[in-house]
């Protein structure tokens, strides 16, 4: 039975899809290093790189390849800021939840919030890896937490 692998990478929103019969993380990393430059391979929502014998749950596998080992993150909301460092494979869904908690935003009271990249109007999908938004030279990203829009007009 084949395995679907979805690979995201540092500073790029493209997704690479591979279908393999047997997972070989060492070989996969070598191929990605050759294609995109040297980097580490991270399992989704994990802070540390995977080892070659990493065991995944059955099903599709979501990975991140990046030369950034940590992403410096700032989330701004209503005059407050939340700062932390995450592995590049951490999803915006996880970051948003963490930021809402640390910024004392009560999910029951708050309208749905989205992470918007600072100084832009881009609101990336929650499955986006934070490393995909951080350019490798800086390995950092700043977001604003903004309310979802009620469509009017």
């Amino acid at each position: 039975m084949s395995i679907d692998i979805f690979i995201k990478r540092g500073g790029c929103l493209d997704v690479v899809h591979r279908k393999v019969n047997k997972l070989d993380l060492k070989k996969l990393k070598q191929e990605l290093d050759t294609e995109f430059g040297p980097g580490e391979l991270f399992a989704e929502d994990q802070d540390d790189p995977v080892t070659h014998d990493h065991q995944f749950k059955p099903g599709s596998i979501f990975l991140h390849h990046s030369c950034c080992k940590r992403i410096d993150l700032i989330v701004r909301y209503a005059g407050k800021t939340y700062e932390n460092r995450f592995g590049p494979s951490v999803t915006l869904k996880k970051i948003k939840r963490r930021a809402e908690k640390k910024l004392n935003i009560d999910p029951a009271d708050a309208v749905e919030l989205s992470l918007q990249i600072a100084d832009s109007s881009d609101r990336p999908d929650e499955a986006t890896h934070v490393g995909s938004l951080a350019n490798p030279p800086t390995c950092s990203v700043i977001f604003d937490l903004v309310p979802s829009d009620r469509i009017n007009g």
């Binding site: 679907d4 999908d125 979802s148 007009g153």
Partner: protein, 152 residues
């Protein structure tokens, strides 16, 4: 095959769409060009069917709305999703008789709303991003706190 369908076929096999399938966010149910029917998973596990017209894809944004594949019509009121003010502004069954979602990504809904590009720049159609933009936004809304299930 027309050029718009050829590009659509390419995009339905692209990693960005397949990733959503792998995450159980959405699936493709059927195609009767230019109409495609998708299943979108809501946060309570319910599947909503979304029927989109892709004529002119990807230059032209798609248009469409929720669909009941059994009756081949817009879902009955008791099967229509409800939610907070943000949610119901988009899932507005009164708009176009439920045949278009009220958001800037929808071709029919955008028509005549000249202020929307400035007001909602993050919801403007980008041909190079393609169909995952539209179904991704529908999935986001159905998985937001503002989604409260169905009325029935």
């Amino acid at each position: 095959m027309t050029p718009d369908q050829a590009i659509w076929e390419r995009d339905i096999g692209a990693a960005s769409f397949l990733e959503g399938v792998a995450r159980n966010r959405w699936s493709i149910v059927s195609l009767d060009w230019p109409f495609a029917l998708f299943g979108i998973t809501a946060r309570d596990g319910r599947i909503f069917y979304l029927r989109l017209n892709f004529a002119g894809y990807p230059t032209a944004p798609p248009t469409g709305g929720l669909w009941d594949p059994e009756t081949e019509t817009v879902p009955a009121l008791n099967q229509w999703p409800t939610g907070d003010a943000v949610f119901v502004s988009v899932f507005n069954r009164g708009w176009q008789n439920g045949l278009a979602l009220y958001m800037p990504l929808d071709r029919v809904s955008l028509n005549g709303h000249h202020d929307w590009p400035a007001q909602y720049p993050h919801l403007m159609w980008q041909p190079d991003r393609g169909l995952v933009q539209y179904i991704g936004e529908v999935h986001r809304l159905l998985n937001a706190r503002g989604y409260h299930g169905i009325t029935g």
